[in-house]
Symmetry: C2
Subunit: 323 residues, 2 copies
């Protein structure tokens, strides 16, 4: 067993990568721009050069056990990125091409699954066999672990809990083309959307009325709520209630011992957590009462993406050994 | 490896048991009344006597690999039945007591999980690693298989998909004490309830108006629909649509390759299956389109409960070997 893995997080803007040890310490990290090259091979050349430099500078040559990559629409089974709208190369066999270039086993998965793996390997879910990671960012992502294993499903795309339907009628239009998805209510953009709706539907005064309504962000709503703004607090109450209700249904599915929340919105403290926990307890089947804890990610946000991806690197080695 | 397992299905009225071989043939079966004894030990004596007689008559003494039991509220992890309202002994350590009596390893689970195991071991799900069994009977039960393993969750009660919420507002009151559960719409009783609602809310003629409205059953609705009754057909359309919508959300969770439907209502043919499949395809996330097939159980209904329970018997042996 070599001492390090390389974690690579491919985002729409930046590709961040880092050398990580078995305890989850990021030894060193760096990044390149994802969008500089429309040709994937030029991107790969640049990534290889930058990562090799980092590896050499940290005396980690021949000490990398595997490479784990988190990327949008990445498929664990096929190693492919498929129809990723935010990347210049929407469909490629990422795992194979990176593995050939580096001469190291590669495993890939999507960002939310990587986050769950990171939490299980180095974070709040160490030792847990059944938990659900929910990432509350621009969208809502999820990574599900059952019996100690990531759930990839029959086609590799399982765990899209941001797209369970929470409003069957007159639900909000989602980026996926459907309406009423959890993501349209409980993401950062969902919170801003709720604030705009409340401001239009209600007449009471609110700090938020001093802002350009179309430019309101979840951060604005948070700041107003912290200052005691009733309408802003109601937005969090509404958001948390929907999320807690949806989580109660997830409990009926897999009876997890915990939900781990991650991402910008999860840092809203009790403003969000209190209504989430209340709605969860209120809506769970009696046989699950008290079962599923709601806890926050233990990974530093700056490192989380690389750590999550790196966790898969240990597995990449196991996969290649098993072949 | 011994050639047989004993499957025991404990229902509220009858306890059915059978000797089953590795190919899913029920060699012989018999039953006793579940409710005759309020004292569990007297029930167990009777069960042991009847099962021993069956085993001896079929020259299966010392040829039973394990005993699998399907029972309401049975917990795979603890071996206990917990708070089973339909049994005279609501909370007991069933697995331990039966195992001591028979001198054979015992594993237990609830009826719907047993059905899923039966389907995976002998039926329509042979070779499948990711599927969801949905039992459409008086209630709606489910058994979930992911990565080739039953999903029991952190407390042993996972897979209660009959109790995901399909109507957040003004949903029907469910036996679980909550409102809007899938079970209140898509069970046999749910179908009858929908028929009554439609008959009251609508004015058109219907064969069902000739019946005592309070006594209408799902079978009455089926018979009317088969005769072309518009209102009765609409009831199935409504039921199938709700079920298909709920199933689309389940796909977002675990991306199964198939749903296997079982139970009385599943035999309604295209009356139910067509709207289920249409709603499922219409509501699935784009990345899952075409993934999850909807198929019917391949187990004979008369044998299914015993077969399902028996499938766990093979596993009981594995558990005891692993200790």
């Amino acid at each position: 067993m070599k001492p390090y893995v390389l974690g690579i997080d491919i985002g729409g803007t930046n590709t961040v990568f880092g050398i990580v040890d078995a305890r989850g310490n990021v030894i060193a990290s760096s990044s390149i721009k994802t969008q500089r090259h429309n040709d994937f091979y030029l991107y790969l050349d640049e990534l290889y050069a930058a990562a090799s430099k980092l590896i050499e500078a940290n005396e980690a040559t021949d000490k990398i056990q595997g490479i784990g990559i988190g990327a949008p629409n990445a498929n664990y089974y096929t190693g492919r990125i498929e129809n990723a709208v935010n990347l210049p190369w929407p469909s490629i066999n990422l795992a194979e091409l990176v593995s050939e270039k580096f001469g190291i086993p590669v495993a890939i998965t999507n960002d939310a699954n990587a986050a769950a793996l990171g939490e299980m390997t180095y974070g709040a879910a160490r030792g847990m066999k059944d938990f659900i990671m929910i990432t509350l960012g621009t969208g809502v992502g999820s990574g599900i672990v059952i019996n100690g294993q990531m759930v990839y499903g029959a086609n590799g795309f399982a765990g899209e809990l941001g797209h369970v339907i929470v409003k069957r009628n007159n639900g909000r239009l989602c980026g996926c083309g459907r309406t009423g998805c959890l993501e349209t209510y409980c993401s950062a953009t969902g919170v801003a959307r709720t604030a705009r709706e409340f401001l239009e539907a209600r007449t009471e005064p609110s700090i938020l009325r001093h802002l350009d309504i179309d430019a309101i962000t979840s951060k604005d709503v948070y700041d107003a709520a912290v200052q005691g703004d009733k309408l802003a607090k109601d937005v969090f109450e509404y958001t948390g209630n929907i999320l807690g209700e949806a989580m109660a249904d997830m409990v009926s599915f897999s009876a997890p011992e915990a939900f781990i929340l991650f991402g910008g919105l999860s840092k809203s403290g009790d403003l969000l957590l209190k209504p989430v926990c209340e709605a969860l307890e209120r809506n769970m089947l009696p046989c699950f009462k008290g079962l599923a804890k709601v806890i926050l990610s233990e990974l530093k946000e700056a490192d989380a993406a690389v750590l999550g991806a790196s966790a898969l690197g240990w597995e990449a080695k196991r996969i290649s050994e098993s072949i």
